[in-house]
């Protein structure tokens, strides 16, 4: 027995209802509700505070991101975003092999220090083979060697007021200092075992495409937190007065500050 006419019409109505429900996604009304100034979007962003809180609660301070054997390195590390900063000050340093590169670490610290690359390389280091997860969705495994950031923290001695570490970068996206890439992390991540200022990648000097001379690794968060082309490091009590106040270049453009998920 075939479905009678009434049932067949009902099925077609059902199909139409189902597919048009999906097309509601294209409704411009919903677009307006989700633009960055809207209170509804700001409300939904609070969900990430819940993620930050619950992940920090469940995550022991020492729990490590997965590390891989060397066989897991199957390709050159993908270079993403800016891969060759055109800014004159960066180009000059790069042409000189970064011999004149100086890294100021200061702000809310008892002992501000200026490092050159030799001094950074002499700090206790860590080598780790980890998986870089980009917010876009892809992953790539590489070996990173760098100075343990916890050692830098020990050396500069942040004051009680310090809550975040601010990394400012040479990469200005070709549009001036106000558009410079920057990132911030909290002190839990700053002293984490796997947080390093990387200067070697896959056994060789960190290439320009991947952030030479120094890039940050924060292995329990997504890739955009791991700033490349580090220019200076400052311990701060708030990032409200930096950039557009959301704690990072991409955060100022709508991404979450806590990128554990």
């Amino acid at each position: 027995m075939t479905p009678n006419k009434k049932t067949r019409r009902q099925i077609l109505q059902g199909l139409a209802a189902g597919t048009s429900a999906l097309a509601l996604g294209g409704c411009n009304i919903l677009d307006d509700l989700t633009n960055e100034e809207h209170w509804l979007r700001n409300f939904m962003e609070r969900a990430n505070d819940l993620t930050y809180g619950s992940q920090r609660l469940l995550l022991s301070r020492t729990a490590l991101a997965k590390e891989f054997p060397s066989e897991a390195i199957m390709q050159p590390q993908r270079a993403n975003g800016v891969i060759n900063p055109p800014e004159e000050n960066y180009r000059t340093l790069a042409d000189g092999g970064f011999a004149n590169y100086r890294l100021q670490v200061g702000g809310l610290v008892e002992n501000p220090v200026e490092y050159d690359l030799e001094r950074v390389r002499r700090l206790p280091s860590r080598t780790q083979i980890t998986r870089h997860d980009c917010v876009e969705g892809w992953s790539s495994i590489a070996q990173w060697t760098g100075a343990r950031f916890s050692e830098i923290v020990k050396e500069v001695r942040p004051t009680e007021k310090a809550k975040y570490v601010l990394f400012t970068c040479f990469d200005e996206r070709g549009r001036g200092a106000r558009n410079a890439y920057y990132e911030t992390i909290d002190l839990v991540d700053a002293i984490h075992e796997q947080t390093i200022l990387a200067y070697d990648m896959n056994g060789r000097d960190l290439p320009i495409a991947n952030g030479a001379p120094l890039r940050l690794r924060v292995e329990r968060q997504l890739g955009y937190k791991m700033a490349k082309y580090i220019r200076s490091i400052t311990f701060v009590d708030s990032f409200a007065d930096v950039g557009l106040g959301h704690g990072g270049y991409w955060e100022d453009r709508g991404y979450e500050w806590y990128a554990g998920i």
Binding site: I11, G18, Q55, S139, G254, Y255
Partner: protein, 284 residues
């Protein structure tokens, strides 16, 4: 009266002609509220999920994405030839032309180069940041709703309504035939195909969506290192997350068709108010 009995009350006997069935109280408020929370959540999870996928519309297997080698299982993109651009979808190396919907949409003069078209994503334009904010907001709603429903259904006995018995399963061939022939019987309880489908969706697909989602979280990987082991790597988890989405989409389409085939007014009444008119002789 036990909690179970009070939430699944005895059917009300109404003075109706014998040819019309009885109105029974079929679903508790816990089932109904969570159902609509899921419907809303899944709508936003799906549309923002496609937005997120569009940021890198290629799926892989294993721990990482092959740029220097090939471990791709699905790719949606565009290709230019003779001044024209066309959209393709490649599954396990088999390429299909999907111009107009996937890879390339819009018009010939103003093509839109996206994996999933603008009418399917929220926001409709390219905005990964906003897509993620909304996706992760509704992920929490979805999670809390599932936990609430599991707890409530454990207490009020609804879980038992969904697990098919051996006797139920013997009716499966006949029930399958009834569904394919759209021979609908309005019963107080769920038929065996319904039980199997809902059980798979609620006990398997929903938890797997959450688990594969968490497997993509770098911090969750550090909390639960076994997640990437279970799912064969972060990129396999991402591909499975997408596959389960396709399965849920399939469920949704069949769900809507069956609702219309069974009589949408009665079905909607039962999932909004709880009251359901059974077929004559089936209201027990």
């Amino acid at each position: 009266m036990t909690l179970r009995e009070s939430t699944r009350s005895a059917p009300t006997i109404e003075a109706r002609p014998a040819s019309k069935g009885q109105l029974v109280y079929r679903q508790s408020v816990w089932t109904r509220v969570t159902h609509w929370l899921w419907a809303i959540s899944l709508f936003f999870l799906m549309t923002t999920g496609l937005q997120i996928f569009n940021a890198h519309p290629t799926l892989y297997v294993g721990s990482q994405s092959g740029f220097g080698f090939d471990n791709t299982v699905l790719e949606i993109g565009e290709v230019r030839q003779d001044g024209k651009v066309s959209g393709y979808t490649e599954i396990f190396g088999n390429r299909f032309d999907t111009t107009g919907v996937l890879g390339v949409s819009g018009t010939e003069t103003r093509p839109v180069l996206k994996a999933f078209p603008e009418w399917a994503t929220i926001p409709s334009s390219r905005d990964l940041g906003t897509g993620r904010v909304i996706h992760l907001f509704f992920a929490w709603i979805f999670f809390f709703t599932l936990v609430t429903w599991l707890a409530a259904s454990l207490v009020n006995g609804h879980l038992r309504d969904l697990i098919p018995s051996i006797r139920d399963l013997r009716h499966l061939p006949r029930d399958l035939l009834n569904h394919l022939r759209f021979r609908i019987h309005h019963t107080a309880g769920y038929n065996v195909l319904q039980k199997l489908t809902y059980a798979i969706v609620l006990f398997v697909l929903f938890p797997l969506m959450i688990a594969t989602g968490l497997t993509m979280s770098p911090a969750a990987n550090a909390i639960f290192p076994f997640l990437t082991e279970i799912f064969g790597g972060r990129q396999t988890a991402r591909s499975l997350h997408f596959l389960f989405m396709v399965l849920l989409m399939g469920f949704f389409i069949v769900h809507i068709i069956m609702i219309f085939a069974a009589g949408p007014i009665n079905e909607l009444r039962s999932i909004i108010t709880g009251w359901y008119k059974t077929s004559p002789g089936e209201g027990e």
